[in-house]
Symmetry: none
Subunit: 107 residues, 2 copies
DNA sequence: GGGTTATTAAACCTTATGGTTGAACGACTC
DNA sequence: GAGTCGTTCAACCATAAGGTTTAATAACCC
């Protein structure tokens, strides 16, 4: 599961891929539809899709000559579960932290 | 904020750095203390700390000849907020989610 | 001042990322 | 069968990541 988190967070560390996921949240998309909004070659966008797929964030199926992609949320859920380990840091202790930062700024 | 998410997710995409964050969750740590558990040169570990710092996940202050690092959870909170956009994909409890978001907004 | 300790910097190596272009392949259209 | 459309592959380039080693800096101890 460690490598899975590596791949998931790595895949999320790019705005093009995050935008693709946002598009996939609305429904299935072909590679071309995923690529279109981005000022980038088709082949470049295709590589991003492959990275999403290798990270397990996206499943694809053939439909004629196009490939339809669908969001697989399980890896996202794992990443979110990992992040929530620290949830109490940004709820209970965020106030205290901001106080410290404010004090530093005063200097 | 887009670049911030890039940096945050990029920083999280490495098990060494995630382990460092877990250590920092227990309290302040020096660079040496963060580096010790990892089978890696000191300089290598120091680079990881610098990446955490550049991503805004860690703050440091000088304490004599050592540097003490502390977790700054705000970027983690942003990353988690982004991930939770898809929460309804992995749970059926959309109502509960919106309640949590509404509560957070009130603060 | 001299030695030790904590940390960074510099130089280097290897591999991965993010991007390009151009050719190739498979499926549809006619 | 010929052309076109969606997609991938291969080769290439530039830059960043992840690691090393050796030297340099800065603070403490005596």
């Amino acid at each position: 599961m460690v490598e899975r988190l590596d791949a998931t967070f790595g895949a999320l560390a790019d705005p093009t891929r995050r935008a693709m996921l946002a598009s996939l949240a609305l429904g299935e998309r072909s590679i071309g539809e995923l690529a279109a909004p981005h000022a980038m070659s088709f082949a470049g966008a295709s590589k991003h899709v492959r990275m999403l797929e290798r990270a397990g964030l996206v499943e694809r199926r053939k439909a004629g000559r196009t490939q339809l992609c669908r969001l697989d949320p399980r890896a996202l859920a794992e990443a979110d579960a990992w992040l929530r380990q620290w949830e109490h840091f940004w709820t209970a202790r965020l106030d205290a932290l901001e106080q410290i930062i404010a004090e530093r700024k005063d200097r």
